[in-house]
């Protein structure tokens, strides 16, 4: 039965999160944009305390209990609101994020317990995902980081360099967190050889080497990580032991399964930012005596009204795509098509809306007096990370055409 009503349980959470976004994020938005690499500890500590008080430990939904599941729907709603508050500060939210998503998607029950329990402790803890390398971004089959099994010591030896690791500094240096490193156990096997490994903070041979300076989302750290004979226990390879020898593409399927869960969440981030922009734009216009006359035929609308109405349509329809993708996730329906579509659409929409808002407000849009220019810069990342818009178009196209990757390159 088609239903667009937000479940009460989620609506309750949303209210709480909205208070945080209004009171703890917006007031410091500009500060952390202009003080790159400073860490918003007030927000982090508050979120950690609040999450603990509510009995949670992680942004990533826990395993199924009885009854209907809305873990990912709730997560999408929370991320949308936090990103409405500030997209960069949201990325500093402690507790499980992308790394935990990989653990949840590919780990065994024992691994989930072992790696995820740290988020329930006294102090805030972070995780991160390491996929991209200097020579391999979207083309993940070109990944060169290696994992070699030392059979005597039952340890994996990791070597390679990872870049663009979101929150890597916080995961490895500011807390007792972990990173999930994608490396190959068989460089000749391409994607089939790729496996996810957990590397915990303070592991010897793992070093944070660089902090990037970025166009936007400056409150969030993005680092390079160097692995030099970095040894991790055999059990840190995520998944059951068979995945070690399995020559099928199970390794990369793990990464793809993770993306099915994370892409709509990144899309939700885009939607929150787009909503913030549209709301502020409408406020600024209203202050200057321009209200939008919804309901009129287009021939009677001003150009600004048409733009705003189009933004509204794009925003709402993209949000429903995101919610559908997470709803499918919660209901155990295969969602990689919907997941990628939501990412394509949300990435487009947030960029169009933030660009248009800056344009419509003219000098006020370009001025750092207002947040519009910041949001325009923050928006761009949504069309890049967790699969660029182009990669996600490829994923969508292959699915709707029934093509393998060899048939549509």
């Amino acid at each position: 039965m088609i239903d667009f009503e937000m479940p009460e349980k989620i609506a309750g959470t949303r209210l709480v999160v909205e208070t945080v976004a209004v009171n703890m994020m917006r007031p410091v938005s500009r500060y952390f944009d202009e003080h790159e690499h400073e860490v918003p500890w007030d927000y982090i500590n508050f979120m950690h305390t609040a999450t603990r008080a509510m009995g949670g430990s992680s942004m990533v939904p826990s395993e199924k209990k009885e009854g209907p599941r809305f873990g990912f729907q709730r997560l999408a709603v929370m991320v949308e609101v936090l990103s409405w508050g500030d997209a960069g500060i949201y990325l500093c939210t402690p507790g499980g994020m992308l790394g935990s998503a990989a653990v949840s998607a590919t780990g065994t029950p024992e691994q989930k317990e072992r790696f995820l329990k740290r988020f329930r402790g006294e102090t805030p803890v972070f995780d991160a995902m390491c996929m991209t390398e200097p020579q391999a971004g979207s083309d993940t089959s070109a990944i060169r980081a290696t994992a070699v099994l030392d059979k005597e010591k039952k340890e994996w030896v990791l070597n390679g360099e990872k870049i663009f690791v979101t929150s890597g500094h916080k995961a490895m240096l500011d807390s007792e967190g972990f990173i999930v490193v994608w490396a190959t156990i068989d460089p000749a096997a391409g994607r089939a050889g790729m496996r996810p490994f957990v590397v915990e903070a303070r592991t010897a041979g793992c070093q944070v080497t660089k902090m990037e300076h970025k166009l936007g989302i400056r409150a969030s750290d993005t680092v390079s990580i160097l692995l030099q004979d970095c040894r991790v226990p055999f059990e840190n390879l995520l998944g059951s032991p068979e995945v070690v020898t399995d020559k099928a593409t199970t390794g990369f399927k793990g990464a793809m399964a993770t993306f099915d869960a994370t892409r709509p969440i990144v899309a939700a981030q885009a939607i929150g930012l787009a909503r913030a922009t549209l709301e502020l734009l409408k406020e600024m216009l209203a202050d200057r005596g321009v209200t939008i006359r919804y309901g009129l035929p287009r021939q009677k609308l001003t150009s600004v009204e048409k733009d705003v109405i189009e933004m509204e349509i794009q925003l709402r329809s993209a949000w429903w795509l995101v919610l559908k993708a997470v709803w499918m996730m919660d209901n155990g329906k295969p969602n990689s098509l919907e997941s990628s579509m939501s990412k394509v659409r949300a990435g487009d929409v947030v960029n169009r809306i933030t660009q248009k808002a800056v344009e419509i407000m003219g000098p006020l849009g370009y001025s750092r007096e207002y947040l519009l220019e910041k949001w325009f810069r923050d928006a761009k990342i949504s069309d890049i990370y967790e699969g660029t818009g182009q990669i996600n178009r490829l994923v969508v196209a292959r699915q709707i055409l029934g093509y393998r990757s060899s048939e549509l390159r």
């Binding site: 039965m1 088609i2 239903d3 667009f4 009503e5 937000m6 479940p7 209907p68 809305f70 729907q73 919804y294 309901g295 009129l296 035929p297 287009r298 021939q299 009677k300 109405i309 189009e310 509204e312 349509i313 794009q314 709402r316 329809s317 993209a318 429903w320 795509l321 919610l323 559908k324 709803w327 499918m328 919907e338 579509m341 394509v344 659409r345 182009q390 178009r393 490829l394 969508v396 196209a397 292959r398 709707i400 055409l401 029934g402 093509y403 048939e407 549509l408 390159r409």
Partner: protein
């Protein structure tokens, strides 16, 4: 609680309508457009699916309950077959549904059973007016209240089947807002254009202009209810049909691109084309949810249902234009030839911003 899946009953209806749309409407579409007429048996078969009958309560001889969501689902499938066919099959709804939504108890009892129990008969409605700034909430056709009747004056265009209709709903401005009036066909001063209107598409449906030269209708012929729910429902139905047309164009161009060779591979294996198709699919899916949202808002009597219906039809008409245009582009020169249906869908696609009032489901 969120759910983005039709109920089992709705799925059964979708399947039934889809079978009819693909095996009857789609097959008849090309010749119907060229010959400017739909075969009557195709229309009657569509009527017998009972989509309208199922949205009228038993008290008025129907066998169901009005649901804008179900209507939208059926409208999409019908238009997936052929837009002209979808409009033709739904024509009695243009008269019946406004009465259901805004009519008095007497009006419902008087008109609905007659329509529902009979075979398909053309009943119609006149909303659109021939001016570039046509606005359903600011009509130029007026209604003046006199002692025992209303006097309707103005001009309408795009009135389907006006030459054969049993009766029509005429929308006119009464004091400050739009109201609906039941007008019998023989009424003095009601003049149906002598010739069919010539339009870019939808040639299988006969459209006429209608002049109202001081047409007098009894006071009892005013539908007492508000116009907004009628407009909202029509906007959602038109938006749903836009999705059906877009989906048809998307699937046709996708299949063509998978079949046609170019530079040693299939057309669809070129990213330039594959990405167009990915965007078309994404756009259709996104806007479909927007339309379902509006329909759901109507069924659940949400305060902002009108806003949602407006956004849905506006978004859907843009989407339909984008998708049908790209479908023609993907077929290249072949897309421009009337042997393939995509050019017809493009002509139809351009109209959705104008079609409000032509569909009610």
């Amino acid at each position: 609680m969120y759910s983005f899946e039709p109920s089992d009953e709705q799925k059964m209806l979708i399947n039934a309508v889809n079978r009819y749309a693909t095996s009857d409407l789609r097959k008849a579409a090309h010749d119907a457009e060229e010959n400017k007429a739909l075969p009557p048996r195709v229309i009657s078969k569509g009527w017998e699916l009972g989509v309208l009958q199922a949205s009228i309560p038993e008290a008025y001889s129907g066998f169901g309950e009005r649901s804008a969501v179900t209507g939208a689902l059926a409208a999409e499938e019908l238009a997936f077959g052929d837009l002209a066919g979808a409009l033709a099959v739904g024509i009695p709804g243009l008269f019946a549904l406004p009465i259901l939504l805004a009519g008095s108890e007497e009006q419902k009892k008087l008109y609905l059973p007659t329509i529902i129990e009979a075979d398909w008969q053309p009943y119609t409605a006149a909303l659109i007016e021939p001016s570039f700034d046509f606005d359903p909430n600011e009509l130029k056709t007026t209604a003046k209240a006199e002692a025992s009747h209303y006097v309707l004056t103005g001009g309408k265009t795009f009135v389907p089947f006006a030459n054969q209709a049993q009766a029509m709903i005429v929308y006119a401005r009464l004091e400050k807002g739009t109201k609906a009036f039941i007008v019998p066909m023989g009424a003095a001063g009601l003049k149906v254009g002598a010739e069919r209107e010539k339009l870019m598409g939808l040639n299988a449906v006969p459209f006429f202009n209608v002049a109202l030269e001081g047409v007098k209708v009894p006071l009892a012929n005013l539908l007492p209810g508000d116009f907004a729910p009628i407009l909202d429902s029509s906007r959602v139905a038109v938006a749903a049909m836009a999705i059906g047309v877009a989906k048809a164009a998307f699937e046709y161009s996708r299949d063509y691109a998978k079949d046609r060779d170019v530079f040693g591979v299939k057309v669809a294996q070129k990213q330039a084309i594959a990405f167009m198709l990915a965007e078309m699919m994404t756009e259709i899916e996104a806007i479909r949810l927007l339309v379902w949202e509006a329909a759901w808002a109507i069924d659940n009597k949400k305060e902002d249902a009108s806003l949602r219906a407006y956004l849905a039809v506006t978004g859907a008409s843009d989407m339909a234009m984008m998708v049908t245009d790209r479908a023609v582009q993907i077929l290249g020169g072949h897309g421009y030839i009337r042997e393939h249906p995509v050019e017809l869908w493009m002509r139809n696609g351009r109209g959705f911003a104008t079609f409000t009032g032509l569909a009610m489901l």
